[in-house]
């Protein structure tokens, strides 16, 4: 099945810094989502981005499907950005199931 790898596993930033999180996947996908899990455990949808580029405020994401990776950019980070960021993918043969990376744990210090 599809393998999903996220990097880095852990990241510590000062408030105001920028960062890039990466998600590599081992097979073609037609579903890719980025989530933020806040300290209370809730999974918040950030992007649905099987291909292309999207932006939402200080966050943006790019998926290069042909090269099997996706990037999540966080600019001008804030303490509220802290938490774990997950990438999850699905493909045509497996579309009811999302395959998850292990996440990137982000801590933004004031």
């Amino acid at each position: 099945g599809i393998q999903v790898e996220q990097s880095p596993p852990d990241l510590i930033l000062q408030e105001g810094a920028n960062s890039t999180l990466r998600c590599n996947f081992s097979d073609s996908v037609n579903n890719l989502q980025w989530f933020h899990q806040n300290p209370w455990g809730q999974l918040i949808n950030l992007f649905y981005i099987p291909s292309g580029t999207k932006q939402n405020g200080r966050l943006s994401a790019t998926t290069v499907a042909t090269e099997r990776y996706s990037l999540l950019y966080i600019s001008s980070s804030q303490t509220t950005d802290s938490g774990v960021y997950f990438c999850a993918v699905g493909n045509a043969g497996n579309n009811r199931k999302l395959i998850w990376g292990l996440g990137t744990s982000l801590a933004v210090n004031p």
Binding site: Q33, G41, Q42, Y48, V84, F86, R96, W100, S105
Partner: protein
């Protein structure tokens, strides 16, 4: 708009006791429904999914079962909890054909501690 409700938010249960977690979705019909577990650490493990009433697929054999008695209701159960059942349980849905049918949305989760 669609919303997903999951309860309770936290639960402490003794070993050997039964379990029932409930999840309901509003604002859509015929959703695909999922139960995930997140153990200590970060990975999410798919436990069950359902594409319709009474249709349950199990991903991992274990001490849990799922049922879907109504279109927008998904229940996770156990007859006798084990210590290893502790974890964070998340319900999710997909299938809003008006938007992106395979985008997943999650409930707030239930933190289960078996003592």
């Amino acid at each position: 708009s669609q919303t997903i409700h999951q309860w309770p938010a936290t639960l402490v249960q003794p070993v050997g006791s039964p379990l029932s977690l409930e999840c309901t979705v509003e604002g859509t019909s015929n959703p695909n429904l999922y139960w995930y577990r997140q153990a200590a650490g970060r990975g999410l493990q798919l436990l069950f999914y359902s594409v319709g009433i009474g249709q349950i697929s199990s991903e991992v054999p274990q001490n849990l079962s799922a049922s879907r008695p109504q279109d927008r209701q998904f229940i996770l159960s156990s007859k006798k909890l084990l210590l290893s059942d502790s974890g964070f349980y998340l319900c999710a849905w997909t299938g809003d054909r008006a938007r992106r049918g395979d985008e997943a949305f999650f409930g707030q989760g239930t933190r289960l501690t078996v003592v």
